[in-house]
């Protein structure tokens, strides 16, 4: 390769030479990325589709069972409990996107630039603290014996109001949601802020000249201007709510009973606790299709809204 760097006397037309050289260099440059992606991303996905039609415990020979795994899933009460819980988390996390939007607009409207910068720095801090630390701190706060909430209830003299929090099948889902308090996703807030800041100053000046009130400004200027960022965050939120389960795995293990079980966690347990790899793959495929469909539908819905308004 290095020897070619000395330009040869141009016998062949330069364009053809260049084309050939670029061809090999191009392939060489993309080969590692494509290779890694095919082997470690595409292949597992395809293998998952294939495995979902088999019964396999990970050791003995896999047995082809057709659609039996999917039929079982449909009649699996744990699966339906998990789906119900998942829908609860999904709806809540979409509703709880609103505080982030409001916060970012308020932050944007703060005119003191120095203060705004300091707030942005503070907003970054939760992003660089490992998620595991945040989950474990909340687990500590919910701890019935040592945790913040029960100690606080004791402190204000209402010990009969103490709860088992994560151990209470009625409360556990709300506890998982409340972990997001104050329901501001800071990286999303900073992305919205970046979007608002990229809008030309003249838009805001025109709005000010027209005497637009703060609420009108929110609904007619700021909100439409961040639709792009919003739909991107929406996809992320939906996908995370449907397929995510790290929080549940660390915090509750899906319990008590199956009160906080979600399909992703059920897939995890089916594979790594019950060794039902085929069944787990089928569960994965159901979620895969589900999140794809819901994402596409919601994108379509929001794009329609956008074009109508």
């Amino acid at each position: 390769m290095a020897h070619q760097s000395v330009p040869p006397i141009r016998q062949t037309p330069r364009t053809k030479n260049k084309w050939q050289r670029q061809m090999w260099v191009g392939w060489l440059f993309v080969a590692p990325a494509i290779g890694l992606n095919l082997l470690f991303d595409w292949y597992p996905m395809m293998d998952g589709i294939y495995r979902s039609f088999y019964r396999w415990d990970g050791y003995s020979t896999a047995v082809y069972v057709g659609f039996e795994n999917f039929r079982k899933i449909f009649n699996d009460t744990i699966f339906w409990t998990a789906v119900t819980n998942m829908l609860f988390f999904l709806v809540m996390s979409i509703i709880l996107m609103i505080p982030t939007i409001i916060t970012s607009v308020i932050l944007f409207r703060i005119r003191h630039m120095r203060a705004q910068y300091i707030y942005r720095v503070l907003f970054c801090i939760p992003m660089v603290v490992p998620w595991m630390v945040i989950i474990l701190m909340w687990q500590f706060m919910y701890n019935p014996q040592y945790g913040l909430f029960n100690r606080f209830i004791e402190l204000i003299g209402m010990p009969d109001m103490q709860q088992t929090w994560l151990g209470d099948s009625e409360l556990v889902k709300w506890c998982v949601i409340f972990m997001g308090f104050p329901f501001v996703t800071t990286n999303a807030a900073l992305i919205y802020l970046g979007g608002l800041k990229s809008v030309s100053e003249s838009v805001w000046e025109a709005g000010a000249l027209d005497g637009v009130g703060p609420l009108q400004k929110f609904f007619y200027l700021e909100l439409p201007l961040i639709t792009g960022q919003f739909s991107l965050n929406l996809i992320g939120t939906i996908t995370a709510a449907i397929t995510g389960y790290t929080t549940q795995l660390v915090l509750t293990k899906g319990g008590p009973g199956f009160a906080s079980m979600v399909p992703g966690l059920y897939m995890y347990f089916s594979a790594f606790k019950s060794q039902k790899y085929g069944y787990a793959s089928a569960l994965g495929m159901v979620m895969f299709v589900l999140s794809l469909v819901i994402t596409l539908l919601s994108l379509k819905f929001f794009q329609k809204e956008e074009s109508e308004s």
Binding site: A33, C124, W138, M141, I191
Partner: protein, 282 residues
């Protein structure tokens, strides 16, 4: 810019402006409260955690940090190697591919690009179990290789996409002039593309590093040996192994949070600018 702005429009401290500050400050307080609690608890011994939960008073038990550090320092080192390995490999292959897709012409370019682009759009939930069996078949379970290789395989499509867009926006003349000067493609990549891509590479490195640092399920599944576990898995294990010893545990959480916080405060400017710049590209 901020100076000019404040000169033109002096911040007027009306009630509305004040209310905005109040709201944002309250949000910040709520956001940072768990971290505040973490630091407060980290200097208490078992008795203080139970009997003086809400007070901050001596004696402060800084030895919690020593105990916690002896537990989690191996986990931190494991995480550091995993995160560095993943970042170097992922950023390397992404930069090469992003440059090639952005500025070179070669047959099947679009097909190859679509392989990555389609994967970017598809949810990754199905991958866990087959990835595990693949790592098993390759015989790399119980090493950091699954984390590094699968990170490089799955996290690059988005960044190749971003890099391609960025490279394509650079003026063609820059690249042509180097070619005319007789540089080969590798030299062009090394001496022109890499410096141009530097801000993007920094942003991507931070993102990949943080995502590997935070990853829990994949290393939990692939690494069995206790002493090879990364920080996230180690912390969760430590918490279940020492119930009630929240002074030592929270000290461990503080130590676990420190490396990234330090990195953040060193590179704060690029970090925040990167976030904003990334948003504009959307």
């Amino acid at each position: 810019m901020s100076i000019n702005f404040s000169k033109i429009v002096r911040p007027s401290y009306t009630i509305a402006e004040f209310a905005k500050h109040v709201v944002i400050v309250l949000v910040c307080v709520a956001l940072l409260f768990p971290l505040f609690l973490m630091i407060v608890m980290s200097v208490k011994d078992k008795e203080q955690v139970v009997f003086s939960f809400f007070t901050i008073q001596p004696p402060f038990h800084f030895e919690n940090y020593l105990v916690a550090f002896s537990y989690i320092s191996p986990f931190i080192m494991n995480s550091v190697w995993m995160a560095i390995g993943s970042t170097v490999l992922t950023v390397g292959v992404t930069a090469l591919a992003g440059y090639a897709f952005g500025k070179l012409e070669f047959p099947f370019k679009n097909v190859l690009f679509w392989i990555l682009f389609a994967k970017m759009m598809l949810p990754g939930i199905m991958n866990l179990i087959p990835s595990f069996t693949l790592a098993w078949k390759l015989g790399i379970l119980d090493t950091s290789l699954p984390v590094i290789l699968f990170c490089a395989g799955t996290s690059q499509p988005f960044w190749v996409f971003v890099m391609r867009t960025f490279v394509a926006q650079q003026p063609q003349e820059l690249f042509e002039s180097m070619r005319i000067d007789g540089a080969n493609e590798l030299q062009i990549f090394r001496y022109l593309a890499i410096p141009l891509l530097r801000p993007m590479l920094a942003l991507m490195s931070i993102n990949v590093f943080v995502s590997v640092w935070n990853d829990y399920i994949w290393p939990l599944v692939t690494i069995q040996s206790f002493d090879k576990r990364p920080l996230t898995v180690g912390l969760a294990y430590l918490t279940s192994a020492h119930p009630g010893d929240y002074g030592m545990l929270t000290a461990g959480y503080v130590i676990a949070a420190l490396p990234l916080l330090v990195l953040f405060f060193i590179s704060m400017k690029q970090f925040i600018e990167g976030l904003t710049a990334g948003a504009i590209k959307l």
